[in-house]
Amino acid sequence: MDLNELQKTAKKGDSSAEKELFRILSVRFHLFAYHKIWDEESAQEVAQEALAVVAREFKGVEIRTSFAAWAHQVLEYRILAYLKAKRTRDPGGVVDAEQVATDAPDPILKIKLARCLRLVGRANRRYARILNLRYQGFSTEEICERLGVSISNCYVLLSRARTMLEECLEKGEAKP
């Protein structure tokens, strides 16, 4: 799928192309925002705000790089603004009880994940180490340095572990 082409077609007035363009952007913006904010409602709000800007500007703005990069930038700014406003509004990190209820984890998934992490973590010790260091606040670069691997190797390690984790969650066993 070429988003740039879709945007160009939409820009010319093709309403079905425009509809498809915003359909694609909508779900992706929400996912990206969620991966930063970890709250459904807020992620939806931020995504909608970014989409509104894109909808307003995409026909008129001159895009020098790619439409995808520009749209992504719009979202990034919205996410940053949200996070900044959150820190200003709530330095103590007050938790909204309703938000907590909405984002409550699936207890079955949690139990399965705990189990699979043990299995995968034992079979793939570096994965357990990487995750643990990440939780302790080390940056990716620091973790790679400690493990003596390059960043791209680290990504590959994680990718392999993910395959094991996914299989374990689906089938209940972890095969290295």
Binding site: P105, G121, R125, R129
Partner: protein, 762 residues
């Protein structure tokens, strides 16, 4: 769904999911995902898991523990073998005797035959109770011994999947039998079906002095055909333990040809006892525990140790029944316990050391390895519950009751847990199951009263508590709560009667507390002079030198009640003095610089109108909290009430919502509702007040004045929303409850004026 064509981005997926991409890689990956359906779909599918990996504390702990275990080179699970069973069968007698075997030719084929088919390890075997062919009455108690030993022996490895003794016990009770000893062979196929077993083992004991013979036939559960038979002829020197070892070996060799017996671990006596006497006492103790005959069980387990001081599980049970420190001895003899039992011992040991995380990890591992052990799920659920992991606790208890539908305590726990997450329907279902399983016990009705009262069903709650007291008139909890419920229902004479009855009980703490309860109906009705007298009477009782020597903290409750009365009367200085007295009293239990009640001081000063003093107190409190790294809900309550008094409604709401989130009790919820009201957020005020008023609780009873005034506040909210009839109802209720009040606050007059106005309005 097609694969992504760019391996570089494929490899980035998990790093993205756990936020480990560099900033530039993240940007590029997200831009890639805008156009790559494959990568987007994978990330989207993993969303919930990603959230857990990133945000969930318990998942972090799992990873931390796994990493640490890897690093130390040890594993949390046991490497030694052991049984996966509990000993739960009823022994016929305590007589120690040698066991004999009789060879039966018909109808069994006595030769061990090999079959063409290999029996997979996954095939499960249920061992039915042996028969004693030479002494059918089995006065020597050989049947349960032989049966349980064999289950233990086979359970030492995964070579043969044997149904545990506990599971058999649960199945027997589901079939309305007292224990598996009552399961006869005609029921074997039913048992096999319920335990999903492919094989049934029917064993027999023949004793011809001085030897014992064990025989058994292996029956295919589906067809009922005898697959093969086994026979072990003992010598005069062999005891029952050794014969069971040999029989176990033969069964394993048949069902798992090629199985390395070296993996079977030591003899069965290693994981039970070398003393038959000790073992019999152990079975006795288990059975007595099962029947809640704890005194008897303690005696039995103590006798176990007199005969075998290395019996680990005897120490374990005594640590639960008698002295937690005995778990240390259980740990010292850990190698003398079976596989699942080792998990129990290690978990209990961790708990004893205060390592709750370790206890939970141990049990989680046990739940993976032995998913049909009810006790594992029950224990695990208990820990989850204590950590506030309610959903996980519910899952655990649900699994336990699935395994044993007669597990009444599981239903009791489920009822309270469902109630905690606001699922009233399930809570009531669970408590009704509890009542169904134990209709002659008071606690089910008491629990039912609790659940119903917490869900606004006042009359039914009253009926439930009354039912509990009919069964056990001295069931103090029901008596006290019935008193609260009568108070809410306006049945004041009956309420007073309940509380008065409690002032005569043996339990001194309860007796003294009951004196305070006697003031509750007066408080609710606004008869404050009477309430003060009753509180003073209470103080007189608990302030005698003898009472103070016995328990100096008993004065705490009446002083707390006094705070509420004086506050209502506008005597804030008196209320503050009562707060200070509470601090002095509670300080005896807490460190000298205890922070308790400092939040109360802030609230009272703010409500008095001395905002500067309240601000100073709050600043002092926050400084002290910061120094100890504490952030209790009381702090946010104080912040919220001060903001409310200052007219900073938004700040008040924010702080009070935080307080409610940390502690959704009566007081925090009440102030949040008032903050909504003050801020003009009428709908939210209505919802909040109605939510509080749907719960008939002990704290709400304690804060009787505030509780009644909610009708007044709710009336105001309804009035603002134009919901006249509802406003009239609330004002009328308030005025009715306080019709005999000897106290005339502004709210009372205001309610009269408002009511009159609304009633006149067409």
């Amino acid at each position: 769904m097609s694969q992504c064509q760019d391996k570089r981005f494929q490899d980035m997926i998990h790093a993205y999911e756990i936020d480990m991409l560099t900033a530039e890689d993240r940007r590029q990956f997200e831009i890639h995902m805008l156009e790559c359906d494959a990568c987007f779909a994978r990330v989207a599918r993993f969303k919930a898991t990603s959230r857990l990996l990133n945000k969930d504390e318990s998942i972090r702990r799992v990873v931390e523990q796994t990493d640490q275990a890897n690093a130390s080179g040890s594993e949390s699970e046991s490497e030694s073998t052991g049984t996966r069973t509990w000993w739960r069968f009823v022994p016929a007698s305590l007589a120690a005797a040698a066991v004999l075997l009789l060879l039966i030719v018909q109808p069994w084929d006595i030769r061990i035959q090999s079959t063409q088919e290999a029996i997979a390890a996954e095939n499960r075997l249920v061992v039915m109770y042996f028969e004693n062919l030479t002494a059918p009455a089995d006065s020597a108690g050989l049947i349960p011994v032989a049966t349980n030993l064999l289950i233990s022996d086979l359970g030492q490895t995964d070579a043969v999947g044997v149904v545990s003794s506990q599971r058999l016990y649960d199945i027997a009770r589901q079939m309305s039998l007292s224990g598996p000893s009552e399961l006869d062979r005609t029921q074997a196929s039913v048992v096999a079906e319920r335990t999903a077993s492919s094989w049934i083992l029917l064993g027999a004991i023949v004793r011809t002095e001085p030897t014992i013979t064990l025989t058994a036939e292996l029956v295919a559960a589906a067809s009922g055909d005898i697959e093969t038979t086994f026979r072990v002829d003992g010598t005069a020197d062999e005891d029952l333990f050794e014969l069971v070892d040999r029989l176990g070996h033969d069964i394993r060799a048949y069902l798992r040809p090629g199985f390395d017996e070296g993996l079977a671990g030591g003899p069965v006596s290693q994981i039970t006892s070398r003393s038959l006497t000790a073992y019999r006492y152990y079975l006795d103790g288990i059975d007595q525990s099962e029947r809640l005959e704890y005194r008897g069980a303690i005696g039995s387990f103590q006798k176990v140790l007199q005969n075998d001081p290395t019996y680990a599980m005897a120490y374990y049970h005594l640590s639960r029944l008698l002295d937690p420190a005995l778990i240390i001895q259980a740990m010292e003899h850990l190698d003398r316990a079976g596989r699942v039992e080792q998990h129990y011992i290690r978990a209990a040991s961790a708990r004893y050391r205060g390592d709750i995380e370790g206890a939970v990890s141990e049990l989680e591992l046990a739940s993976e390895r032995f998913p049909e052990e009810k006790a594992v799920w029950g224990l695990l659920a208990g820990y989850y519950s204590s950590r506030g992991e309610i959903a996980e606790a519910i899952t655990g208890y649900k699994r336990a009751v699935e395994l044993d539908p007669l597990y009444k305590n599981g239903y009791n726990s489920l009822a309270y847990l469902y109630d905690q997450i606001g699922d009233a329907e399930q809570a009531i279902w669970a408590v009704n199951k509890y009542v169904e399983l134990a209709p002659d016990e008071p606690n089910p009705y008491d629990s039912k009263g609790d659940i119903l009262s917490r869900n606004g069903r006042l009359d039914e709650a009253i009926a439930a508590y009354e039912a509990a007291l009919e069964i056990a008139p001295d069931y103090y909890h029901s008596r006290a709560y019935l008193g609260y419920m009568y108070t809410f229902a306006g049945r004041y004479a009956e309420a007073d009667s309940c509380f008065q009855a409690l002032t005569y009980v043996d339990n001194q703490s309860l007796r003294h507390a009951a004196y305070t309860y006697t003031a509750y109906s007066a408080l609710r009705r606004g008869i404050l002079q009477r309430a003060r007298e009753l509180i003073q009477d209470n103080l007189d009782v608990v302030s005698t030198p003898r009472a103070i020597r016995a328990d100096p903290t008993q004065r705490y409750l009446p002083y707390r009640s006094r705070i509420n009365v004086l506050r209502e009367l506008g005597d804030f200085d008196g209320a503050l003095a009562a707060v200070d007295e509470c601090r002095r009293i509670s300080g005896r239990l807490a460190p000298p610089d205890s922070l308790s009640f400092l939040d109360y001081r802030v609230i009272l000063l703010a409500e008095k109108g001395d905002l500067d003093a309240a601000t100073r107190e709050l600043a002092g409190l926050e400084k002290r909290l910061e120094a100890v790294g504490a952030d209790p809900s009381g702090r946010w309550l104080a912040v919220g009430v001060l903001a409310l008094e200052r007219g900073r409604h938004d700040s008040a709401i924010t702080a009070l919502r935080h307080a409610v989130e940390m502690d959704p009790g009566f007081l925090t919820s009440h102030y949040l509702a008032r903050a909504y009201l003050a801020a003009g957020q009428w709908e939210k005020a209505v919802v909040q007040f109605q939510m509080i008023m749907a719960v008939y609780s002990s704290p709400r009873s304690f804060h009787g004045i505030r509780s009644v005034k909610m009708h007044y506040y709710l009336g105001q909210a309804f009035e603002q929303l134009g919901r006249t009839e509802e406003a009239i109802e609330q004002y009328s209720t308030f005025l009715d409850i306080w019709r005999d009040a000897d106290h005339r606050p502004l709210s009372l007059e205001d309610a009269r004026v408002r009511l009159a106005r609304l009633q006149q309005t067409p």
